[in-house]
Symmetry: C2
Subunit: 147 residues, 2 copies
């Protein structure tokens, strides 16, 4: 697997170990990981603490996100896609989008390159967790606007 996606999966696993939703993300610039994050809804009681948001927040007050690439274990929702296009993240690579379709066109129409690795590992990690935790998943994703 791509080494950056591996790091995003590691983040997802950290979230899982904390009793949270296993979704992870890393932000890459010039071939190096500059920040990491995982979903913290359950841990922090914060419905907006999606992996991508936490990851970008952890990058701090960058003067520009131009040239950065975000690796996410799952397709981002509009909150996270909105963050990606608002701050001009150049590329979004997802582990899978079978468990959450999202809106690829929203990203690409606004200049963010998009790659779906369609990783069996990412897909199974998420599917397996959803099957065991339908309530928490529904709470986090049920109101997500998915096209």
């Amino acid at each position: 697997m791509n080494k950056f996606m591996e790091a995003a999966v590691d983040e997802a696993k950290k979230g899982l170990a904390e009793g949270g939703i296993p979704i992870g993300a890393v932000l890459v610039k010039d071939g190096k990981i500059i920040s990491r994050g995982h979903n913290r809804r359950a841990q922090d009681g914060d419905p907006l603490a999606h992996a991508e948001i936490v990851c970008m927040r952890n990058a701090g007050r960058l003067s520009s996100f131009k040239g950065t690439e975000i690796y996410c274990t799952l397709m981002p929702c509009y909150l996270c896609s909105g963050a990606i296009v608002t701050f001009g993240v150049s590329k979004c690579v997802v582990g899978e989008r079978r468990n959450y379709k999202g809106d690829v066109k929203f990203l690409t129409d606004r200049g963010t390159k998009f790659i779906d690795l369609d990783s069996a590992l990412c897909h199974e990690m998420m599917s397996g967790w959803i099957a065991k935790n339908p309530g928490l998943w529904q709470e986090d994703s049920g109101k997500r606007y998915s096209v």
Copy 2:
């Protein structure tokens, strides 16, 4: 002025008093304010701490945002509009959008009602601050994707 927008302006003024960007928001449910927030980019070194994000975060882990209304002193960017549609906030009322055009159709196409109060007070508060703080404004808004 609408009492909820007044409360959002009060939040913006709190941010200003802290040396931050004067943008405020409140979330309303059943005619009552259930959370408040203001932009905290400068205060927290967090570029994602937009007023609407902070306000929705402060609402906590609601089972549903259905029926809530968000009052924002300035038109939301895609990060905040993404949060609004992802969590199903029913209505978005803005103080003005002359200083930031945003994307009204993005919200209304996804079921969020939209009202622009086009308030002179909100407009002048933002314009006056931008004129004095072009660098910080550019840092916060320059990379914002505005259609």
